[in-house]
C-alpha cells in the first residue's frame, strides 16, 4: 500500500525510498485500529489457549532421582509417631493455658532421638505500613515495642546433624502447631514429621542437616515461620529489651529438660543454626475433610507471585502419585468449573484438536473439554493468587530469603478409626522422606527447572515463554495506537487545511509546523504526570490513616476516599488549572492526552510484567480495552450513530469495571456471592496487600488508578 502511494508521489517529487522497517511501522500506525482489534483478540484468545498449550512437567535436575531408593520409613517409626500423637492429644485434655506442656513434650521427643533441640521465642508483629519497605529485603530493623509475656510465641526447633556431612546446607521441615487449640490434624502433622525425623536420625545417607521447626501458630502460621527465619538470617546481637526467662516464668519450665540421659543430647535455649537452607517443606494435615481418597494439595505461591522451582513441585507430585498413590491437587477456582461458556470453549478446542489430528497424526494438542475446563480453573486460580501477591501459606516466608519452599496439605480420607491414622502417618511420612531424600541428593541448589510458570494441573505447566505471548499480544497495540494518535493529533492541528488524511502526509509537512506540533504533547504529559503524582499520594495516604486509632475498615476506607478526592481537588486547583485554560486546539487535546496515557500505561504494564506477571496480565485485561476505547462521550453523542452509541456504552461499562474498588467488589461478588460484599472489605484487602509488601498495591496505586482517572478525564472531555 505504502508502495503504491509512494509511487504516485514520486511523479511529482522524486525522493529516496523509505527503509522497509520504517515503512512497516508507518503501515502499522496507519492501520492502528485493525491492528489493535486483531492483537487484543489474539491476546485474549492466546490466554484461553494456554491450558491447551500446557506441557507435562518433567524432572529437570537429574541429581534429584526421586523414588530411586525404596522408602525406609517402617512401622516402628510410625508407632513412635503415633505415640507422640497420643501424648499430644491427651495432654491437650489437661492443657495449661499457655500450651507450654505440648512444646515440652515435643522437645523431649526430639531429645530422645539424639537431635539438638532448642526453643525460639518470638513476638507477634503487628502489621505496619512501611511505604519504603517495598522490594527491600526483610530486615530486623523493626521498631521494638514493650512486649509483655502474654504476646510471645514459642517455636520448638530440632536439628539433626548429618553424620558425615560438612554442615554447609540444611533442609527445613515445618509443622505449624497451635498448642492452645490444636485439633487432631495438627497433631497428625507433628506425628508425620516426627516419624520422618526419627528415621532421619538413624540413616547414614544424610548429606544435609535436617531442621524440624514446630512453628507456634497461635499468631498465625506465617508469623511464626517468618519470625524464626528473621532470627535465622538476620539476627540481632544487641537487644535492648530482651525477654528474659525470669520475666516470663512459663519458659523457665522448659529448661527442666537440660540433658537427655540416653543420648547425651542437650537442650538449649540459644538459637541453633545449620547451614544455608536448600529447601523447605511445610506440612499440614487438615482436620476434617470430605475427600473420597487421600489427597494432598500443594500451595506454592509466595509473595509477589514468586514461585518455587518447578522441580520441587515435580518431585512431590511424582512421589505422591507414583509411589504413595496419593491424589495430588492444586488450587482451583471452583466457580469456573461449572461455567457453561468455558465448557463450550473446551468443546470447540477439543473438536479443533481432533481436526488437527486427522490432518496430521503428529499434532497432539487436543485435550478433552473437561480437562480444558479444569485446566482453565487451575490456571485462573494460579493467576489470581500470583496476581494478589500474597503468599498462600507459611512457605512464603522462605521465598523472601530465596529458599524454595512449598506447603503440602494432606487431606485424609474421611474416617475416624485409629488404623487410618497410622496409614496416613506411613504414607505421608514416606512422601516426606522421599522428598527430603531427593533434595538431599542435590549437589547444587535448585536452578535447573523453571521459576516462572503457571500451573494448569499438578503435572502440567505453562512456562514463561508461552504465557508471555498472550501478554505481549495484549499490550502490543498500545504503542502503535499511541503513535497513531500522536501523529493524527499533530497532523490535525497543523495541517487541518490540507485534505491529506493519511499519516504519511505528516512526512512532507514543513519544518516549522513540526516544531510547534512536537511541543503540543508536553501539556498532556504534564497532566499525566500530575495524575500519576496524585496516584502516588493516594497510595501513601493509608500510612496516615493507620496512625488513627480504633478505625473500623469501613470508616478507614471512607477517610481514604475522602482524602484522595481532597488531594485530587487541591492538586487540580493548584497545578492543573493552567492546563484547562483555553487552547486553540481543544478538539485534539484529548487525543494527545490519550496518546500519552497509553504510553504511560504501556510502560507501567511492561515494568509490572517483570515484577509480577500475573498482576500485569490481569491489569492489562482491564486497562487495555479501556485505554483503547476511551473517547470523549460528547463526540459520540454528537455523532449519534449506532457505532458511536455502542462505543459509548462500552466506554461507560469499562470505566465502571476498571475502577479498582469496583473491580474488586465485582470479582468478590462473583466468587463468594454478593451478600458478603461490604465497603470495609476493600480496605481489609488493601491492608493485607501492603502488609505483605505486595507490589500489586503499588501497581494499583501508581499505574491502574491514574490510568482510570485519565480515561475518565478523556470520557468527560469537553471538546
Amino acid at each position: 500500500m505504502a508502495d503504491t502511494k509512494e509511487k504516485s508521489e514520486s511523479n511529482e517529487k522524486p525522493k529516496p525510498r523509505i527503509r522497509p522497517i520504517v515503512r512497516l511501522g508507518i503501515f502499522l500506525i496507519a492501520h492502528s485500529f485493525l491492528v489493535s482489534v486483531v492483537c487484543c483478540t489474539a491476546g485474549v484468545l492466546a490466554l484461553f489457549l494456554l491450558p491447551v498449550l500446557a506441557k507435562n512437567t518433567y524432572i529437570s535436575e537429574n541429581a534429584l532421582m526421586p523414588g530411586s531408593a525404596s522408602p525406609m520409613l517402617a512401622n516402628q517409626h510410625v508407632l513412635e509417631g503415633n505415640r507422640l500423637v497420643n501424648d499430644l492429644t491427651s495432654s491437650n485434655l489437661k492443657s495449661s493455658e499457655t500450651g507450654i506442656e505440648s512444646q515440652r513434650i515435643i522437645a523431649r521427643y526430639m531429645l530422645d532421638l539424639g537431635a539438638e533441640a532448642s526453643i525460639h521465642k518470638f513476638h507477634r508483629q503487628l502489621n505496619h505500613f512501611h511505604p519504603l519497605h517495598f522490594f527491600s529485603s526483610p530486615d530486623s530493623g523493626i521498631i521494638e515495642e514493650n512486649y509483655s509475656c502474654s504476646s510471645y510465641g514459642i517455636n520448638t526447633v530440632g536439628i539433626i546433624r548429618a553424620p558425615r556431612g560438612d554442615g554447609k546446607e540444611a533442609i527445613v521441615l515445618v509443622t505449624p502447631y497451635n498448642a492452645l487449640k490444636s485439633g487432631l490434624g495438627e497433631a497428625l502433622s507433628i506425628g508425620i514429621a516426627y516419624s520422618v525425623f526419627s528415621l532421619l536420625s538413624q540413616v547414614t545417607w544424610l548429606a544435609k542437616d535436617i531442621i524440624w521447626l514446630v512453628a507456634d501458630s497461635r499468631y498465625g502460621e506465617y508469623a511464626a515461620v517468618s519470625a524464626w527465619l528473621r532470627d535465622y538470617q538476620t539476627p540481632k546481637f544487641s537487644s535492648l529489651s530482651t525477654l528474659d526467662a525470669e520475666m516470663c516464668p512459663d519458659i523457665d519450665n522448659l529448661y527442666d529438660l537440660k540433658v537427655n540421659s540416653i543420648t547425651g543430647s542437650k537442650f538449649s535455649s540459644s538459637f541453633k543454626r545449620a547451614g544455608t537452607m536448600a529447601a523447605a517443606l511445610v506440612l499440614k494435615v487438615r482436620n476434617k475433610s470430605d475427600q473420597f481418597e487421600d489427597t494432598i494439595s500443594i500451595y506454592a505461591e509466595a509473595s509477589n507471585g514468586q514461585m518455587p522451582n518447578l522441580d520441587l513441585i515435580n518431585v512431590v507430585n511424582y512421589l505422591a502419585v507414583h509411589r504413595q498413590g496419593l491424589h495430588v491437587k492444586v488450587e482451583k477456582l471452583w466457580s469456573l468449573l461449572n461455567s457453561s461458556w468455558l465448557k463450550i470453549l473446551g468443546e470447540i478446542f477439543e473438536s479443533l484438536g481432533k481436526v488437527a489430528k486427522s490432518l496430521n497424526p503428529k499434532w497432539k494438542f487436543g485435550i478433552t473439554a473437561t480437562e480444558y475446563v479444569e485446566g482453565t480453573a487451575t490456571l485462573a486460580s494460579s493467576l489470581y493468587y500470583q496476581a494478589l501477591g500474597l503468599p498462600t501459606g507459611p512457605h512464603g516466608a522462605f521465598r523472601d530469603y530465596q529458599i524454595d519452599a512449598i506447603t503440602l496439605e494432606i487431606l485424609p480420607k474421611f474416617s475416624s478409626d485409629k488404623v487410618r491414622h497410622s496409614d496416613i502417618l506411613l504414607r505421608g511420612g514416606r512422601l516426606i522422606e522421599g522428598v527430603i531424600r531427593s533434595v538431599n541428593n542435590l549437589l547444587e541448589k535448585f536452578h535447573q527447572s523453571f521459576f516462572l510458570y503457571l500451573l494448569t494441573s499438578p503435572s502440567k505447566f505453562v512456562s514463561v515463554g508461552v504465557y508471555m505471548i498472550a501478554f505481549a499480544l495484549l499490550i502490543a497495540p498500545l504503542p502503535i495506537v499511541a503513535a497513531s494518535l500522536y501523529v493524527d493529533a499533530s497532523s490535525l492541528g497543523n495541517c487541518s487545511k490540507s485534505d491529506k488524511s493519511t499519516p504519511s502526509a505528516s512526512l512532507d509537512t514543513d519544518e516549522h509546523s513540526i516544531t510547534i506540533g512536537s511541543w503540543m504533547w508536553l501539556n498532556s504529559a504534564k497532566l499525566v504526570f500530575l495524575v500519576h503524582l496524585w496516584g502516588a499520594i493516594v497510595s501513601l495516604i493509608p500510612y496516615v490513616i493507620c496512625q488513627i486509632p480504633d478505625c473500623t475498615p469501613t470508616t478507614s476506607f471512607m477517610i481514604w476516599v475522602l482524602l484522595s478526592m481532597l488531594s485530587f481537588l487541591t492538586l487540580y486547583s493548584v497545578l492543573a488549572s493552567p492546563l484547562s485554560c483555553a487552547k486553540a486546539s481543544q478538539e485534539k487535546e484529548w487525543a494527545l492526552v490519550k496518546s500519552v496515557t497509553i504510553s504511560s500505561v504501556f510502560i507501567g504494564l511492561g515494568l509490572m510484567s517483570v515484577i509480577n506477571f500475573a498482576t500485569a496480565e490481569i491489569g492489562a485485561l482491564l486497562m487495555v480495552p479501556m485505554c483503547l476505547l476511551a473517547r470523549p462521550l460528547k463526540l459520540d453523542v454528537r455523532a449519534g450513530t449506532l457505532r458511536s452509541f455502542s462505543r459509548m456504552i462500552g466506554n461507560l461499562v469499562l470505566g465502571l469495571i476498571a475502577f479498582p474498588p469496583a473491580a474488586f467488589f465485582l470479582l468478590k461478588g462473583m466468587l463468594d456471592g454478593f451478600g458478603s460484599v461490604n465497603v470495609g472489605a476493600f480496605w481489609i484487602w488493601v491492608e493485607s496487600l501492603w502488609a505483605w509488601n505486595s507490589a500489586t498495591y503499588l501497581f494499583i496505586g501508581m499505574v491502574h488508578l491514574p490510568c482510570w482517572v485519565l480515561c475518565i478525564h478523556i470520557l468527560l472531555h469537553t471538546c
Binding site: K168, E169, F237, S238, I262
Partner: protein, 645 residues
C-alpha cells in the same frame, strides 16, 4: 659330578649365611653405638564419649635421626617423606583429610585430642619452610603438587595464590615462613588412606593398623586422617636432617548396641558396651615387628572420672561394699576384658573437676593364638559431659540475596568453664584472650571497616575489645583476605559476637568451578585460646616419655577449635547463556553489517536517476519480475541443455 658338587654348595651356603649374620650383627652394633636409630611406635587410644560413641585415635610415629651415615637410605622411615623434606626444606608440615564435623559440644573441646585432631572438613595443609622469604611461595607450590601425587588428592588446587595465605601470628606455630591453605570441598575416601598407610612400615598387615577396616572406619561420625612432620637438627653441612613423622587417624564410631537386645528399660540408660571386634570387626593379633612399642590406651576423661567417683561415693554410703579409694580404679563400675598393664592418673593441678585416667595395654603380650580384643562393659548407667573450651564458637552467614551479606562469629560461654574461670576471676583485670584467624576468598569482598563487636548483647567499641588486629585485604583474583585478631574479653563474658559485612563479587565465566550453583565455600575460621593449654600431665615420667602419644599429651598447646565452613551462594550465570548470547550477537551483527553494507553500496544520485527512468518507463513491476524470471529460466535451461549435450 653332580654328587660331588652338592656338599660344596651346602658349604658355601652355610659360610655365606654365617657371614651375613655377622654382618647384620655388626651393623646393629654400629647403630647402637650412635645411640639414635630410626624408630617406629604404634599406639591406639580409645575413649568413650558422652553420646554413646567411642573415639579411636591411632597414633603412628616414625622418626629418623639426623645422620650422615645413612645418606639417602632409611630402614623403616618412608623415603617419600624424607625426600620431600630434603627437597622443599620443610621445617614443619601438617596435612589433614577430614570427613564429618567434630562435635565440640558433646565430644569436648579442651583435651589434647580435639585441640590437635579436630580439623575442618576437607583438606587442610600448612607448612613452615626453611628457605629464604622469596622462595617460600615456590616451595609451597611444589610441595602441594608433590603431596597431591603422594596422597591422590587435589591438593594441587592449593597452588594458586588465591587459595593459600600467610598468617602472621595468630596461627599457633606462628612464624613468618608459614603458609596455610584449605580445601573445604575435598572428599575423603580410601584412596587417600591407602597412600597414608603405605608410609607405615607394616602398612595395615600387622600391628595395630590391622584394625583399620575400611567399611567400619568410614562408617563413623568423624574421620580425620592427619600427617604431621617436623624436621629437626638440620643445618650443618653433610648432615641429613632428622624427621619426626606423626601419622594420626581419629575416628568417632558408634558401637553396635544390639548386644542384649534392649531387654530392660534400664538397659537403654547404660552406655553401650563395646569391644575392638564390635567397633572395627577385627582384633589385634600381635605387634608390628618393626615397632619399638605397641600400646593400646583407654582414656576416661575428667568428667567421666568425676562422675564415676561421685557414683562410687554414693554407693559407699548406701551399702558398705568395702571399696576404698585405692582399689577404686581397679574395680570400677565397668569391666575390662583384659587387665591393664599400667594405670596412669593425671596430675591434677589446675582442674578441680577431676583427673583423667589412662589404662595402658601392651600388645606385645598377645599373639596370633591369643589375640588382643579389648572390650568394655558398663555395669551402671553413667551420664557425664566432656570438658569444653572456654567459649563455644559458631560462625554463620547473615542476610540474603545475591548482593551482600555478613559473616558473624558468635562466641558463647560454656557453663563448664565457669568454675574454672572463677579461680582467676578474683583479680579485677581478668581477661580472656581469644585469637581469631579467618581466611576469606577474594570473591567474598569483606569490608573490614564494618567490623562490629558485641559483648553480652551490647555493642562495644572495637578498640576496647580487640587488642591486636592484622588484616590483609584480598586482591581480586590474586590473594584471599586474611583477618587475624586478638580479642580481650572479660572473664565473665556470656556471649560475644563479631560481625563483618561483605559484598558478593562476580566471577569471570571460566573461573566458576564445576557445580557452581552449589555456592562457594568460606573455609573454617580458627579460634584459639592462648591462655588455656590442652595438656594432660601424668605422674610417672619415665614410661610416659617413652610413649610418643603420651608425651604429645604433655605438650602445652593452646586450646583450638575450628568453626563451621560456610556456603555462600553467589550469582551464577545461566551456563546455557553463551549459546543464547552467540545467537543474539550473530543476529545483531548480521543486521548491523547488512545495513552498513547497504548504506555503503548505495549511491543516492544514481538511485534517483534510476527512479526517474523507471518512472519514465512506467513498466509494471509484475512484468519486470516475469521477464527476469523467464530470463533466468531460459539461462538455466540453456546451461542444463549444454551440460547434457
Amino acid at each position: 659330578m653332580a654328587l660331588l658338587q652338592r656338599p660344596f654348595f651346602v658349604l658355601l651356603l652355610v659360610l655365606t649365611h654365617q657371614f651375613m649374620q655377622y654382618w647384620i650383627a655388626f651393623g646393629s652394633v654400629n647403630e647402637e653405638g650412635q645411640k639414635q636409630e630410626e624408630e617406629f611406635n604404634e599406639e591406639l587410644l580409645l575413649k568413650p564419649l558422652p553420646d554413646r560413641k567411642v573415639l579411636a585415635h591411632f597414633h603412628f610415629q616414625s622418626s629418623a635421626p639426623p645422620s650422615t651415615s645413612n645418606g639417602r637410605h632409611h630402614h623403616i622411615f618412608p623415603k617419600a617423606i624424607s625426600q620431600l623434606v630434603q627437597k622443599f626444606r620443610v621445617k614443619e608440615m601438617e596435612l589433614s583429610f577430614t570427613q564429618g564435623r567434630w562435635n565440640y559440644e558433646s565430644w569436648g573441646g579442651f583435651d589434647p585430642i580435639p585441640s590437635s585432631n579436630a580439623k575442618p572438613p576437607g583438606v587442610e595443609l600448612w607448612a613452615v619452610f626453611d628457605v629464604p622469604q622469596h622462595q617460600i611461595d615456590a616451595s609451597w607450590q611444589n610441595l602441594t603438587h608433590t603431596l597431591s601425587g603422594l596422597f591422590c588428592a587435589s591438593i594441587n588446587f592449593l597452588e594458586s595464590t588465591t587459595t593459600y595465605s600467610a598468617p602472621e601470628w595468630s596461627f599457633p606455630p606462628a612464624s613468618g615462613n608459614l603458609r596455610y591453605g584449605t580445601l573445604p570441598r575435598e572428599a575423603v575416601c580410601t584412596e587417600n588412606l591407602t597412600p597414608w598407610l603405605k608410609l607405615l612400615p607394616c602398612r595395615d598387615k600387622a600391628g595395630i593398623a590391622v584394625l583399620l577396616d575400611r567399611p567400619s572406619i568410614y562408617r563413623g561420625f568423624y574421620h580425620s586422617q592427619r600427617l604431621h612432620l617436623t624436621s629437626t637438627g638440620s643445618g650443618s653441612e653433610g648432615m641429613v636432617s632428622g624427621i619426626i613423622l606423626e601419622q594420626t587417624l581419629t575416628v568417632v564410631l558408634q558401637p553396635n548396641s544390639q548386644r542384649a537386645g534392649m531387654a530392660y528399660a534400664s538397659e537403654r540408660h547404660i552406655q553401650p558396651s563395646w569391644s575392638l571386634t564390635s567397633i572395627f570387626g577385627k582384633q589385634v593379633s600381635g605387634t608390628c615387628v618393626l615397632a619399638k612399642s605397641s600400646n593400646v590406651y583407654l582414656l576416661l576423661d575428667r568428667g567421666l572420672v568425676a562422675e564415676l567417683e561421685h557414683l562410687h561415693k554414693e554407693n559407699e554410703k548406701s551399702a558398705e561394699n568395702g571399696f576404698t579409694s585405692q582399689n577404686f580404679w581397679t574395680k570400677p563400675s565397668f569391666e575390662l576384658s583384659a587387665d591393664p598393664d599400667r594405670i596412669f592418673i593425671e596430675e591434677n593441678s589446675l582442674h578441680s573437676k577431676g583427673s583423667s585416667v589412662l589404662y595402658k595395654f601392651q600388645v606385645e603380650k598377645y599373639s596370633e593364638s591369643e589375640p588382643f580384643d579389648l572390650s568394655l562393659t558398663w555395669k551402671i548407667p553413667v551420664v557425664w559431659l566432656s570438658q569444653q573450651a572456654p567459649l563455644h564458637a559458631s560462625r554463620f552467614l547473615m542476610g540474603s540475596g545475591n548482593e551482600r551479606g555478613a559473616i558473624a562469629i558468635s562466641l558463647k560461654s560454656t557453663q563448664l568453664s565457669e568454675g574454672f574461670m572463677g579461680a582467676n576471676a578474683d583479680d579485677e583485670r581478668c581477661d580472656l584472650q581469644v585469637n581469631v584467624f579467618q581466611v576469606v576468598p577474594w570473591y567474598v569482598k569483606v569490608y573490614f571497616h564494618s567490623l562490629q563487636v558485641f559483648v553480652n548483647q551490647q555493642p562495644k567499641a572495637i578498640s576496647d575489645i580487640i587488642e591486636k588486629i592484622h588484616v590483609s585485604p584480598s586482591k581480586d583474583k590474586v590473594s584471599p583476605g586474611v583477618m587475624e585478631m586478638v580479642l580481650k574479653l572479660p572473664c565473665k563474658v556470656n556471649s560475644a559476637a563479631l560481625t563483618i559485612e561483605f559484598d558478593k563479587g562476580f566471577l569471570h565465566i571460566d573461573e566458576y568451578p564445576p557445580d557452581a550453583n552449589q555456592g562457594f565455600d568460606i573455609p573454617s575460621a580458627i579460634i584459639s585460646f592462648p591462655n588455656f593449654h590442652a595438656s594432660m600431665i601424668f605422674l610417672k615420667d619415665d614410661s610416659v616419655n617413652k610413649s610418643p602419644l603420651l608425651s604429645k599429651f604433655q605438650e602445652k598447646s593452646p586450646v583450638m577449635s575450628y568453626t563451621e565452613a560456610l556456603l555462600v551462594p553467589l550469582t551464577t550465570p545461566d551456563f546455557s547463556m553463551p549459546y543464547n548470547v552467540i545467537t543474539i550477537t550473530c543476529t545483531v551483527f548480521a543486521l548491523y553489517f547488512g545495513s552498513l553494507l547497504n548504506v555503503l553500496r548505495r549511491r543516492v544520485a544514481e538511485e534517483e536517476r534510476f527512479l526517474k527512468e523507471k518512472a519514465a518507463k512506467k513498466t509494471g513491476r509484475l512484468s519486470l519480475l516475469l521477464s527476469k524470471l523467464s530470463a533466468k529460466l531460459r539461462g538455466a535451461w540453456n546451461e542444463g541443455s549444454l551440460r547434457v549435450s
